[in-house]
Symmetry: C2
């Protein structure tokens, strides 16, 4: 599987040159070196040149840890996400990074994997590291430990979570609105029954989306109990969606539901596959399908998928913004982002 060869010699790990070394070579004092680094306008051109020459000669790179220790400041922000591999979170991370770059700050990323123990490990690590602030997708509803961190002087913002303990800013997405958007669209198309393939209500997002669905149904004067048939999936992937819909079709003598709303796009892809397997293109095109997340591939499918899109990048950007404000002493603040519906062929007649 792998091949390896060994190179020449190992790198000797000698001490990095310090401002003292630079000062010696340039024939000035450490204070002057520091001034060249931080307030060059205070230094005469000739000495500045000498110092810069010495810096080049020694390939001096300043020790940021010592600098920050002395200044008491920090230029890194920690973000603790649920899963670094999930495109949802990488888009968020990119939004964070883009905002931080404006102020020349860097991001330290961690994945909690939704495990509270991993979460607290990373939190301790970040805090010891002296981060300027912390963006956290919490693993539990309990956020007192995060408020405690903020009490100790590290700004904390809840990410992808509604307001928690007092004092913590938060940024999240309106899942109620997302559910309402999807269901409203299907109702508008004239469908009178909606199969909703959802995850367990212990996940806030799932519960909220269901609430949104109900609201949309009520808004048109119908009874959710009659209109909505919710099926709870064991996992939220394509296989689970396919199995659930195959079972539905089998239980209904080979007929497909008129409309299906899926808690995410992968599930929707599974639904499309089940429909195609059960009754080919005819069955597939006779069933309106709406997904959630608007993953990259949604537009590329055989039948392009209607989906609820969430402003993930913006959410990250805003979270970083709130963090910096909070670190600057501003009061806590809460932002909720609204999703939008991207209508494609999968949900409209003749699509």
């Amino acid at each position: 599987m792998t091949s390896a060869r060994v190179g020449p010699v190992s790198t000797p790990r000698r001490r990095r040159p310090s401002v003292g070394d630079v000062a010696r070579v340039a024939g000035v004092s450490v204070g002057t070196v520091s001034n060249v680094l931080n307030k060059p306008e205070l230094v005469s051109p000739e000495t500045r040149d000498r110092v810069e020459g010495a810096i080049k000669e020694l390939s001096f790179v300043r020790n940021g840890r010592a600098r920050q220790l002395r200044q008491g400041s920090s230029t890194t922000v920690g973000a603790l996400l649920l899963d670094i591999r999930n495109p949802f979170f990488t888009d968020v991370a990119r939004g964070i990074e883009d905002r931080l770059a404006v102020d020349d700050l860097t991001l330290m990323l961690g994945s909690s994997d939704d495990d509270p123990r991993r979460e607290s490990k990373f939190l301790r690590l970040f805090e010891e590291h002296g981060v300027l602030g912390l963006l956290v997708v919490p693993t539990t509803h309990e956020t007192k430990h995060l408020a405690a961190i903020q009490e100790r002087g590290v700004a904390v913002v809840l990410l992808d979570a509604p307001p928690g303990a007092a004092g913590l800013s938060s940024v999240w997405l309106d899942d109620v609105a997302g559910g309402a958007l999807a269901a409203g669209h299907l109702l508008e198309q004239g469908h009178e029954r909606i199969v909703f393939l959802n995850g367990p209500h212990s996940i806030r997002q799932c519960q909220d989306r269901r609430e949104g669905v109900d609201r949309a149904v009520l808004a048109v004067g119908q009874d959710p109990a009659r209109v909505v048939e919710e099926i709870t999936l064991p996992r939220l992937d394509a296989a689970a969606g396919e199995a659930a819909l195959a079972a539905w079709v089998a239980a209904h003598g080979g007929a497909a539901p008129a409309a299906v709303f899926c808690v995410n796009d992968l599930v929707a892809i599974g639904v499309q596959r089940a429909l195609r397997r059960a009754g080919g293109f005819a069955l597939l095109s006779g069933c309106a399908v709406v997904g959630y997340d608007d993953i990259d591939i949604a537009a590329e499918l055989a039948v392009p998928l209607t989906s609820v899109r969430q402003p993930r990048h913006e959410m990250g950007h805003e979270a970083a913004e709130l963090l910096l404000r909070q670190a600057a002493g501003e009061a806590e603040q809460h932002t909720v982002f609204q999703p939008e519906l991207v209508v494609r062929a999968s949900s409209v007649p003749g699509g």
Copy 2:
């Protein structure tokens, strides 16, 4: 789009308690506090309890920067990837992280966006930060600046790149083998002509894959110039793949090629879409398609896609491993990973 409300008061940013504060509260010296933290077995149980009580009382969190400054050590590794949003790199990042977690090290991530200026900005930032080592996907073939960093005492490993400047370890994927795998498979299926939708040869991976294709053709005693029809795409996404194949079909009186090898899965998805649009399922199922990357969705498509899978997580893991070895003074080392072919319906008759 967003709504915001303002909360109560802002958090006062008071000084973090130090070992000195803990010592005062516990009625011991700072040395003893340090011992409790680092060598608890040297401290008598009673004083240890007193100190631990004081730590709890003050919610003391040790200042890692000062610690590392004093010790001269570091516990963070920097990784500079091309794009943090790309699933390829997030899988790699996760592999890195998993290896680092074993030694309780943390990862600082950066995205160079393939821009040498961003690259050098991040490199300086990482180096000032005092990282233990650096994993870099280089933006250019030139790696002297990375060797220079290593000269200054920071271990550097090239990621997803073949060996560069002397002294740098490297980890990469065998794209020649990947190209040969895909083409070999198509030849084995009896196809005598292969359309290869590739990217520009200025991208090493594209050039290598072409070389692999040629080798596979030569291996069965055929002439690449006769067998392979390479089309260079302007971009490597589904739209580009669709356009290229639609043009091919139009130029061949509505006929599809017998076999198409695509430089990545997105392009392959575009190809499938073009085939379906041009001639429905019949045309689609009559054309063997092979992609590259084995993205999550490849198995979920209407016609599941045969693809070349690369061990990305393992590559990250190995890169971190080599970095740690190099940081420990071992000699440079080079590892190349072999891809594997995942055969699905898109490339086999009756699929």
